[in-house]
């Protein structure tokens, strides 16, 4: 019986937890009161038990032979990969999931560089947009320093936040509200209400205007924060808004209402703005978020913004990959790609454009998959290497606040599984690089010399002597912000940003509604207790555009058959409290394949994730 202080691997709140191990198996995961004073975990955190006996667990390398993946020795598999990488006609693309330890991201990056390849991230949680905007406007990589700031706020703006998506943020909002704080929700549909928050319902085709309306209100009313006035670009911005004709025909947020909102926020004592996944995964998220951050800077809230709780290590992955990483979604569309290495994500399952992706994968000469679980991408793989979970290896992860925390090895590696860094070094040796760090600590050390923001973190702090007892939360370091104060830059919006995006969003009004819900929860597959988690994962629900359902006359409570490529599924329709009253959610009944439903997505994907309208025929059953 042993207890290993570690960090929850399910989202970038990265809660501290204790892994309870007995005879090499994880029996339970418990919260830690000691780490941050809160003995809280969400459902996922409570269920981080072993995955060695997961039905889909990969435990041996495989190489495709005569059309079938067959078990191979690690040496054979590694040699096969090396030879394919070596003979690639164009730079191989390494697509990394957001659940790898920093050390593993770094190792794959190093291998990619060695073989002349490129890196990209498969993360769909909106962290890239957040990161882009934070750097652009604030000059930092991270927002708020901790979650408790949310709990202590007297005014919270929730912009495109699905609280169901992120229990830890939700609990802080609840606490703030209970202590008398006010909550304003900006979202694309009216709230189900009852929680006492005020609602600004943004039409799906106009939400991009929100930051501009706010900026204009601040400037016109001359409410800008003194620090914002001193920031670069403030004059430009002021001139822009003074030149812009005031007002507009907006029933959803009149100038008067906007002024009241910004006034309230500007004079709140402890205001916080939370930008959620629905905002950050919507179309034009990067540009819109830049504008929204500018508005918040004008309101004096530059240091009061929480952005996108991403997946396990969304933030650290971007730190380590640096500016060279682009979304895999964009990268695999490029012509000429012939070799793809997918690391730690089921690209096919999670891609918003699975149909287009599978076409690409079919065409590629080489697809390598390095992952913990057998997913849908395996169908296209030529070589497969088994990797490990956060409880099976040592590593670091960086949370949404920039704190670097430890994942601790609590159970042995099953079969031939090993961390990505070991696979990278085994492959790398075949490219003539003999020197690869041997331990997690030495990987960390090597990494910090190449990732500037991690340089101040000494490996001894993360991998110290009293490793076994030091707390993940206690020794969490960071945030790895660029030293010194934020460097705020403001700029007038580019002309086209102000225009609405009507055409694109009108095609599917729900695109923003469902956002990254799936991306965030689908990490449940990492858990041994998948059955238990599957009961809660919202990924098996679909929403259909109201118009589609209206045409077919489908009403709540009805059963419908959805025809999808490869079969059909029976679903029940229900009105979801989180959706507007005229939108239905389709819930596959027992035995229906949610994976197939997920695949029925339209061609040009945009940025919405996972859940898509159903272009296939709906039949009344």
């Amino acid at each position: 019986m042993a207890f290993h202080p570690s960090t929850c691997p399910y989202c970038s709140c990265a809660c501290a937890l204790l892994l309870h191990e007995e005879n090499g198996r994880l029996l339970g995961s418990y919260p830690r009161a000691g780490a941050d004073g809160r003995a809280e975990l969400c459902m996922r955190g409570w269920n981080c038990t072993s995955s060695e006996s997961h039905p889909d667990r990969l435990t041996a390398p495989m190489v495709r032979n005569a059309g079938r993946l067959v078990r191979a020795s690690w040496r054979e598999a590694v040699e096969e990969i090396a030879s394919r990488l070596g003979s690639a006609a164009s730079p191989p693309l390494f697509a990394l999931g957001p659940t790898l330890a920093n050390e593993d991201v770094f190792a794959v990056r190093r291998l990619a560089r060695r073989v002349g390849g490129r890196v990209s991230t498969t993360d769909l949680s909106g962290v890239q947009a957040a990161r882009f905007a934070l750097r652009q406007v604030l000059g930092t990589g991270y927002g708020l320093p901790n979650l408790e700031t949310v709990a202590g706020a007297d005014l919270i703006w929730l912009v495109g936040v699905d609280l169901e998506d992120c229990p830890q943020v939700a609990s802080r909002v609840t606490q703030a509200r209970r202590d008398g704080g006010a909550v304003v929700r900006f979202d694309v549909y009216a709230s189900a209400g009852g929680d006492g928050s005020r609602m600004v319902a943004m039409p799906p085709d106009e939400f991009g205007r929100l930051p501009l309306i706010l900026q204009q209100a601040v400037i016109v009313a001359n409410l800008a924060d003194p620090e914002a006035r001193a920031a670069a670009g403030f004059e430009d911005l002021t001139r822009y808004w003074q030149a812009e004709p005031a007002g507009g025909d907006r029933a959803w947020l009149s100038d008067e209402a906007a002024l009241a909102l910004v006034r309230e926020f500007r004079f709140a004592r402890r205001p916080v703005a939370v930008l959620g996944s629905r905002w950050l995964t919507s179309s034009r998220a990067e540009e819109n978020t830049v504008q929204l951050l500018q508005a918040l800077v004008l309101l004096g809230a530059a240091n009061h913004v929480l952005t996108a709780v991403g997946e396990a290590n969304s933030w650290g992955s971007l730190d380590v990959l640096g500016a060279e990483a682009r979304p895999a979604e964009l990268a695999w569309r490029e012509a000429g790609l012939d070799t793809l290495v997918v690391v730690g994500d089921d690209l096919v399952r999670h891609s918003p454009c699975a149909a287009a992706l599978t076409e690409t994968l079919d065409r590629l000469r080489t697809v390598v998959v390095i992952d913990r679980f057998a997913g849908d991408t395996l169908r296209f793989a030529d070589v497969v290497l088994p990797s490990c979970t956060s409880a099976e290896t040592d590593g670091t992860t960086t949370n949404v606040f920039g704190a670097v925390q430890r994942w601790r090895r609590a159970v042995p590696l099953p079969g031939d599984c090993c961390p990505e860094r070991l696979w990278a070094s085994r492959i790398g040796r075949l490219f003539g690089v003999e020197e690869w760090p041997a331990t997690a600590a030495s990987w960390f050390d090597a990494m910090r010399y190449e990732v500037e923001s991690y340089l101040p973190i000494l490996p001894e702090r993360m991998y110290g002597e009293n490793d076994a007892v030091s707390a993940a939360g206690d020794d969490g370091l960071g945030p790895p912000r660029v030293a010194g104060q934020t460097r705020v830059r403001l700029a007038a919006p580019a002309g086209d940003v102000a225009s609405t995006d009507r055409g694109q969003d009108a095609a599917f009004p729900m695109r923003m509604v469902l956002g990254a819900h799936v991306a965030n929860w689908s990490t449940g597959t990492v858990s041994q207790r998948e059955e238990l988690l599957r009961r809660e994962i919202p990924e098996s629900t679909l929403a259909a555009a109201p118009a589609v359902l209206e045409t077919l006359g489908v009403k709540p409570g009805w059963t419908a058959k959805v025809l999808v490529p490869g079969g059909e599924a029976t679903v029940t329709t229900r009105a979801d409290l989180r959706l507007p009253p005229d939108v239905l959610v389709l819930v596959p009944l027992g035995g229906s394949p949610p994976a197939q439903l997920r695949r029925c997505c339209p061609g040009p994907g945009g940025r919405s994730v996972g859940v898509q309208p159903i272009p296939a025929r709906l039949e009344r059953a």
């Binding site: 202080p5 919260p31 459902m43 038990t49 229990p167 238990l532 809660e536």
Partner: protein
């Protein structure tokens, strides 16, 4: 047996003496601040100053996950004992808090009830040597006095230790406890009249430091009488994040689920794992129909169940021992203490 005392400095020797017959478990600090029950070894100091453990001792008797049996060749089915099985020594727990000892007794009654005895769990509980440690001051979330479960006990333990400064007073109530002390008799001395005085003064003083509040009694009664309007449950349930933590940290919660897990080529383990009635899938049927689909219904169910239904007619008490763990773990302020206080204040 008359009360005995043992010097705190020789406590490790006592635990070492028990280690022959028992697997000795004691509270230990992990990673600085968190206290857990872990296997005692003489190089780890025994902690007498902890408030309570992160998870209740039920995890020793009813683990978060355990193999019921092992399956080979599922279509033809050869069953054998799971890997955790085998003759293990009975547990000796040192440092059990009164609330948790009460919770353990509750679990024993539950797993023996309704005409079916869960042998595995009962054997673990019944063979265990329970050595409680009377509390000296309440933790921030404690309310055992409102639940008849502390801060010290008059029954339901083998040995109850009370910290008298440099020594511990041992109140021995069972033959099992007497045998344990007899095995290390040189470490114990008969309590002197001064010790007994100090002990009784301490108990009185401790009693006074634990605040007696009426919310438990009033809340339980109002739930049972159906005094809480449906709108209240619905309103409160909006803050439930469905984490299941309240059930997992509860010393008396006993719900579990059973799954078959692959454990090799064509082999499986049938496993039992803790489950939580706050999970949406807890009552969902294979057809997709869910009789308790709404969060408010699940929250209401939890409170009716723990505070009213089965507990009053079968278990003889409500299902809360006032350990306060749910107070710490609930993100939504829907723990027993907070919610019953709200019921007390808002639902006359």
């Amino acid at each position: 047996m008359r009360p005995m005392t043992i010097l705190e400095s020789v406590l490790p020797s006592f635990l070492a003496a028990l280690a022959g017959d028992y697997r000795v478990v004691a509270p230990q600090r992990v990673g600085g601040a968190d206290v857990v029950y872990a296997d005692w070894t003489d190089d780890v100091p025994v902690d007498l100053d902890f408030v309570n453990t992160v998870v209740p001792p039920k995890m020793l008797f009813f683990p978060a996950r355990e193999t019921l049996f092992h399956i080979e060749d599922p279509r033809h089915a050869t069953l054998s004992a799971g890997q955790e099985a085998g003759a293990t020594k009975p547990l000796a727990i040192f440092g059990l808090r009164s609330c948790d000892a009460t919770g353990l007794a509750f679990l024993e009654k539950f797993f023996a009830g309704r005409g079916f005895e869960d042998d595995t769990i009962l054997a673990r509980i019944r063979s265990a040597l329970t050595m409680t440690l009377a509390c000296r001051e309440p933790g921030a979330d404690c309310f055992c006095v409102c639940c008849e479960a502390g801060p010290w006990l008059t029954a339901g333990f083998d040995i109850q230790f009370s910290d008298l400064g440099d020594r511990l007073l041992a109140d021995v109530r069972t033959e099992k406890g007497e045998a344990a002390i007899a095995a290390a008799s040189s470490l114990f001395t008969l309590a002197t009249p001064e010790d007994l005085d100090a002990w009784s003064r301490q108990l009185t003083k401790v009693d006074a430091t634990f605040e007696r509040r009426s919310f438990m009694a009033a809340g339980t009664r109002r739930i049972s009488l159906g005094r809480i309007p449906q709108e209240k449950w619905e309103h409160w349930a909006e803050d439930c994040r469905g984490c299941g933590g309240c059930c997992f940290v509860c010393p008396t919660c006993s719900c579990f689920t059973v799954t078959d897990r692959p454990s090799g080529d064509d082999a499986f383990d049938r496993e039992r794992q803790w489950d939580a009635c706050l999970y949406e899938g807890f009552t969902r049927e294979a057809s997709g129909h869910n009789p308790r689909a709404a969060k408010a219904e699940r929250l209401k169910r939890r409170f009716f169940h723990k505070m009213s239904y089965q507990y009053i007619d079968v278990m003889g008490r409500h299902g809360c021992v006032g350990c306060g763990r749910c107070v710490a773990t609930c993100m939504g302020g829907l723990d027993i203490s907070t919610l019953l206080t709200r019921i007390h204040d808002e639902c006359p």
